[in-house]
């Protein structure tokens, strides 16, 4: 477990910075520092938190915001599925804790270390996860406290900070095949078009991404037959 805790430290530094930034944004969007810390502890998934807070503060409504955030976490379906073997030996409550602590970083680190040393398993995951959990909860709360003390940054370009964060997220999720960018292009163009035509932001996002998804499904199907 200590090994996991130590191995993840470099990644924890990055997470702390991200947490601070998110905390500032969330505070500016109206959340108190303790609420942000609570969210960090309860959700423990940065990209979904930033999407949910952004949607919530730009008028998407509660359900839309939760839904958008939840979609960002769909990848955990595949991530936790791959942990079935590693967690099997743990008592139930530890399994549930391990699942909650599973994030991109500690999962990826555990899996890559495990490839080098098959002894790496649940204890490593829990150790690394605990460090990330504390780092994330604390840094988001501290960021929010700072954000509360800062003046209203809206005029200074706070909205663009969200845009830049999403651009960074998109880049990290960028497909490797050129053809896979076609759905991205369609979604991007459609979202702009729908909003220009007067559709609400939340609806435009949903419609545009579903259209892109439909195209992605078509492309995959035709790929299989090629």
């Amino acid at each position: 477990m200590t090994r996991g805790m130590l191995s993840i430290l470099p990644l924890a530094v990055g997470a702390a910075l991200y947490g601070l930034a998110f905390g500032v944004l969330a505070a500016q969007a109206g959340f108190p520092w303790w609420g942000v810390g609570l969210m960090g502890a309860g959700v423990h998934a940065g990209s979904s938190q930033i999407v949910a807070v952004d949607q919530f503060s730009t008028g998407s409504g509660l359900v839309g915001a939760v839904f958008a955030g939840a979609i960002m976490n769909l990848r955990y379906l595949g991530i936790t599925a791959s942990l079935a073997g590693i967690l099997a030996a743990l008592p139930l409550w530890q399994r549930l804790v391990a699942l909650h602590l599973t994030s991109d970083e500690n999962w990826a680190l555990t899996m890559s270390e495990r490839r080098k040393d098959s002894g790496v398993g649940a204890a490593f995951l829990l150790g690394a996860g605990s460090v990330m959990f504390v780092t994330w909860s604390v840094s988001t709360a501290v960021g929010a406290q700072i954000g509360t003390l800062l003046p209203d940054l809206d005029a200074a370009g706070l909205g663009f900070a969200f845009t830049a964060a999403f651009i960074a997220m998109a880049r990290s999720m960028a497909p490797r095949r050129i053809s896979a960018f076609l759905p991205w292009g369609v979604t991007f163009g459609l979202a702009i078009g729908l909003m220009s035509a007067g559709m609400s932001r939340a609806l435009a996002i949903l419609a545009a991404s579903l259209a892109g998804l439909a195209l992605a499904a078509l492309l995959r199907k035709s790929g299989r037959h090629a």
Binding site: A65, G69, N73, I79, A164, P183
Partner: protein
């Protein structure tokens, strides 16, 4: 916090834990089903739509700053670097292009 703020936190926390739990319980069945591509493709599309919707109807300087942010993101592949440098570019453009 307002009721909706509480519900946002609780709702997202519940949905996220349910997702993690479901993945663990469903195991490989989901990944091997024909819907597995949704897990991979939808989140990225949502983020792209978010970028697009936040740029729609904004002034040229925002689009330029966004293009710069894309370049920074491409090179750094780091959220904090992209946010800081992107924001700096946005603010600088605001001064240059009035």
């Amino acid at each position: 916090m307002s009721l909706s703020q509480w519900l946002l936190i609780a709702g997202l926390a519940a949905a996220t834990f349910a997702t993690r739990l479901l993945g663990y319980l469903a195991g490989d069945r989901l990944r091997q089903s024909r819907f597995a591509f949704v897990l991979e493709d939808l989140p990225g599309l949502i983020v792209v739509a978010l970028v697009a919707s936040s740029l729609a109807g904004t002034e040229p300087k925002t689009w330029i700053a966004a293009a710069l942010a894309v370049a920074i993101a491409w090179v750094s592949n780091n959220v904090v670097v992209t946010m800081s440098a992107g924001l700096a570019a946005y603010l600088a453009l605001g001064v240059v292009i009035t």
